[in-house]
Structure formats: structure tokens, C-alpha cells
């Protein structure tokens, strides 16, 4: 069985600037994989190249055996990949329910109600806030809405960009628990996260990006012990390493 997602040597330019310089990675079925790296290392660009928001100048994106490198973004959603962007980008002038409904844009009409129920089940607070304008939600609720909205399309691969950004630790922990629950229902997850420690605990494998290339890759447990990763992303300087 082909993996859920394969990137082969993907390169992306923003104007003159090279944002990705040959990234290759794999997400197996039902797996959680995390992308680590400093700001500007190309994590978000990798997600955008997968969801069709930017076009690679080189390389291939293969989803469940199909080449989707040049597919339009709406076809990629319909194929089963949804992307929760950094900053959530919920529709502030829509109610919570309308946000979910537009998330179900590609879903058969008769399935929409069941998808909404499923999102409410995962995030009960959204049911309480159903009629409220999404722009008035708290940051944590907006993140839940963004994830719930992305699940409306019944994805088999969920791309998450910094889901805990700006959230209090309690809320971030709740979001991470929900990501695990979503994964347990069979959805593969590719997670970009600034909290490397937490991301490594959740993910089976990790890739570390540096200036648009994969610098280190491997099982999360191994990476958590890798001195390069510890120093750069887990906050252990050489001298501060625990004895």
C-alpha cells in the first residue's frame, strides 16, 4: 500500500528567494509526523506546497499514489487533504456553524449534518457557540474551530501549522490531546509546531528543516536524544545539559 504522502525533492521559490530547496519526506498511513525547524526554515512552505497554495518549481507531491503536484487547491481538499493554516484564518464574519458548513464545501450535502455533529462531539464548546460570530471567539476556541472546520471535509491527511501558537499551556495540552484522538480515528497528521518537545512526544517520526532542506530525520525518540536537536530546539545548551 502506498504511503499517505510522499514529497520528492520539492523546491519552492517566493520570487527570487528559495524557500524550499529539495525537501523529501514521507507520511505513512495513520501516522503522526512532525516538522521542526527555526523560523523561516520552510515548515509552513512545505505545508503550502502540499495543499496547493504554492506551486513547487521542482519535485513531486504524491498523495496515496497520485501525483498532486499541479492539482488545484480545491481538488486537493476534495482528494482528502486539509490544511489548518498558521493563525487559524477562520472566517470572522461567519458564525461558528457557518465556518463549519463552508468547511464542508466539498462534502456531499446529505453528509454535512453528520460532519457538523462529529465536529461538535470533538469540540463541545463549539456547539455552545454555534450561533456566535467566529471573530468573537477566544484564541483557543478559534483554534478548535479551525481544526473542526478542517475535519468537515473528511480528510485522510490533516496538515496542522502551529496549532498551539499563542495558547495557554492548558489549552495547548487540550489541543494536543484532540490531535491524538483525531489520529486514532485513522487520520494521518503532518504537524508543524514550535513546541518541539511536545511535538516529539506526539509524533512517531520527525523531520528537522534548516534553510529549506531536511537536516535531520528519524524516529521522535531518537531525535529527542540527538544532541543537535536538543541544543537547537529543546533548549538544552551544551553546558546546561542535564547531568
Amino acid at each position: 500500500m502506498s504511503p499517505t504522502l510522499t514529497l520528492e525533492d520539492v523546491a519552492v521559490h517566493y520570487g527570487q528567494r528559495l524557500a524550499l530547496d529539495g525537501v523529501s519526506l514521507t507520511v505513512e498511513r495513520g501516522e503522526i509526523v512532525t516538522l521542526l525547524g527555526a523560523n523561516g526554515s520552510g515548515k509552513s512552505t512545505t505545508l503550502r506546497a502540499i495543499s496547493g497554495l504554492v506551486r513547487p518549481v521542482r519535485g513531486r507531491v504524491v498523495y496515496e499514489g497520485r501525483d498532486i503536484t499541479q492539482a488545484p487547491a480545491d481538488a486537493i481538499v476534495a482528494a482528502g487533504i486539509t490544511h489548518v493554516p498558521e493563525g487559524r484564518e477562520i472566517f470572522p464574519e461567519f458564525t461558528v456553524l457557518e465556518n463549519l458548513l463552508v468547511g464542508g464545501h466539498t462534502v456531499a450535502r446529505r453528509d454535512v449534518a453528520a460532519r457538523v455533529d462529529r465536529a461538535f462531539e470533538l469540540f463541545p464548546v463549539l456547539r455552545e457557540r454555534g450561533g456566535q460570530l467566529a471573530g468573537t471567539l477566544s484564541g483557543g476556541e478559534q483554534q478548535m474551530l479551525a481544526i473542526g472546520r478542517a475535519l468537515m471535509a473528511r480528510p485522510r491527511l490533516l496538515l496542522l501549522d502551529e496549532p498551539s501558537l499563542g495558547l495557554a499551556p492548558m489549552l495547548a495540552a487540550e489541543i494536543f490531546r484532540t490531535i491524538r484522538r483525531i489520529n486514532e480515528s485513522g487520520v494521518a497528521v503532518l504537524l508543524v509546531e514550535q513546541n518541539a518537545r511536545r511535538a516529539l512526544r506526539l509524533a512517531a517520526r520527525a523531520y528537522v528543516l534548516e534553510t529549506g532542506r531536511v537536516a535531520v530525520a528519524g524516529a521522535s525518540a531518537a531525535l529527542a536524544d540527538d544532541p543537535r536537536v536538543r541544543i537547537a530546539y529543546l533548549g538544552f545548551g551544551r553546558n546546561a545539559a542535564p547531568r
Partner: protein
């Protein structure tokens, strides 16, 4: 000035105001989807109405079918303009696209002159000539018909935007194009649908107003007042377009009662200046918080 005369002036103001509102709505529909101002909106309205009139003249079609022909012509024209011209300027600045639509308006007006001459033609009306008597007040049926027809269309549009998948997709694109793409919305299809829908609304406005102002290659100038209405209401707001249109229509009719008669044609511009000074975001406009 008697009350009954005042009512009469207000009602006919609401009738022209309804037309301004419809034109404003059509401008706002395109603006919300594409952030483009369509300067050719009035000329597209005029061409569609002319096509309907030609069908009437050549085939003796009954009036409801004339409306259908005008709407179909508008839909085709809107689709073609977006597909053949605007789509290719997708990377151009808003200002460039604005110049393109301005050029298109000149071309369409000249083309209409070639086909139909620049004369004025009477246009058949859905509504009879005998005034409707409501107690002491007598109002022209055409005014009531225009108001009723416009309100019906506005309600239909409100339902479309609120309850249909296409309408929701259009509103999503208006708020955040990239997020809409991530929901699986084809933004290109929304562009296309917006031009078609705007052209159709314009054509209905054209068929409603043509019996009153006569059919001519110059009738597209009604778009200037439609634009003013949209600015008054707060550009981008559909309810604002309705309120702005009605207000403009009524004030334009009332002003000559107390001010010099020639003031009528200055009213839109005076109102536009006033609103831009006093409340630049319009009456119902929200101050958009754009992300930096």
C-alpha cells in the same frame, strides 16, 4: 407642499432608489469577490436591456420572455467578460483592472451605438399607466412595480447568500480568499459566478428602469448613482447598498423641492463628498481590520 404630494415624491424616489440599490448590489458582488470595481457595470446593464428589447422588437416576445432574454444575455456577457478579459489580468493591480473595465465601458457604449444607434427608444413596461389610489394618495404603478420587483430580487439574493453553498462560498472568498481555497472552494469559479450574478442583477434593474428613463446607449450612466449608493452604504456591504440606494433616490427627488431645481444631478456627488468626509466607511460599513 401637501402631504400627498410629498408621499408621491418619496415613492418615486424609492423607485429610482431601488434601481440604484440594485446597481450598487451588482457592483458590490463583484467587488467582494475580486476587489475590483467594474466600471462597465452600467454598460453591461444597457447592452443586456437592448438585447431584450431587440428580441421584443423582432420576435414580438411577451414581456416576461423579454426579461428572460435580457437576463440570459447578461449572464453570457458577464461570463465572457470575466473569462476572456478579467481572468487574464488576475495578477494585475486593482488599478489596472479598473482601467480595463473603464476601457470596456467605452467600447461597449460605442458598440451599442453602432448596433442600436445613440437614439432613445421607449421600452414596454410590466406595469399599467393608471395610478394606484391608496386613500388620498395616488402613486404610479410603475413606481410600485419597480419597488416590489427590486425588493423581491433583494430577498432572493439574501437567501442565496445565506442558505446556498455558492452564496456561502462567495461570502467566504470576500472574507479571506486563501482560507476559502483551503476549504476546497474554487476561487476561480466564485469569480465567474460573481460576474454572472452581478450582470444578471444589472439586467433586471435595466428592464425595470428602461420604461421610465427610456432605452439608450447612455442609460449605463445610472451606474454612477449606483456607485454613489454603494459608497453611501459602505462599499462591500450588501444591506448598505440597499439603504444607500434608497436614501440617494429619495434625497435626489426631495432636494429640488427646497433647493434650486438644477440641484438634482448634483445630489449624488454632494452626498458622496459628505459621506466621505463624515464617515468614510459608509453608513453600514464596518471599518475593516486588514491584516498587515
Amino acid at each position: 407642499m401637501t402631504t400627498t404630494a410629498l408621499v408621491h415624491v418619496v415613492v418615486s424616489g424609492l423607485a429610482t432608489g431601488s434601481i440604484y440599490a440594485l446597481v450598487a448590489i451588482s457592483l458590490v458582488i463583484i467587488y467582494n469577490a475580486t476587489r475590483t470595481l467594474n466600471f462597465a457595470q452600467g454598460e453591461m446593464l444597457m447592452i443586456s436591456t437592448f438585447v431584450g428589447w431587440s428580441a421584443h422588437a423582432a420576435l414580438r416576445l411577451p414581456l416576461p420572455l423579454v426579461l428572460v432574454v435580457a437576463v440570459a444575455a447578461a449572464a453570457g456577457l458577464g461570463w465572457l467578460v470575466e473569462r476572456l478579459i478579467i481572468r487574464h489580468a488576475i495578477a494585475a493591480t486593482h488599478f489596472d483592472v479598473l482601467i480595463i473595465t473603464l476601457g470596456l465601458s467605452l467600447v461597449l457604449r460605442a458598440a451599442a451605438g453602432l448596433v442600436w444607434t445613440h437614439d432613445e427608444f421607449p421600452f414596454p413596461s410590466f406595469f399599467g399607466g393608471r395610478p394606484v389610489v391608496l386613500g388620498p394618495v395616488r402613486v404610479a404603478p410603475v413606481s410600485l412595480g419597480i419597488i416590489g420587483g427590486s425588493l423581491g430580487l433583494m430577498l432572493a439574493l439574501a437567501a442565496l447568500f445565506r442558505w446556498t453553498r455558492l452564496g456561502r462560498a462567495m461570502r467566504a472568498v470576500a472574507q479571506n480568499q486563501r482560507a476559502a481555497r483551503l476549504m476546497g472552494v474554487s476561487v476561480e469559479r466564485v469569480y465567474s459566478a460573481s460576474w454572472v450574478l452581478a450582470a444578471v442583477v444589472g439586467a433586471i434593474a435595466g428592464v425595470l428602469i428602461a420604461p421610465v428613463i427610456f432605452l439608450s446607449s447612455k442609460m449605463g450612466l445610472v451606474a454612477i448613482n449606483g456607485f454613489t449608493a454603494a459608497v453611501l452604504g459602505g462599499f462591500g456591504s450588501l444591506p448598505g447598498a440597499v439603504v444607500g440606494g434608497m436614501l440617494l433616490g429619495v434625497l435626489e427627488n426631495l432636494a429640488p423641492l427646497w433647493l434650486p431645481a438644477g440641484i438634482k444631478h448634483s445630489v449624488p456627488f454632494l452626498l458622496m463628498i459628505a459621506i466621505l468626509v463624515l464617515r468614510p466607511s459608509g453608513m453600514l460599513g464596518r471599518v475593516r481590520q486588514r491584516k498587515v
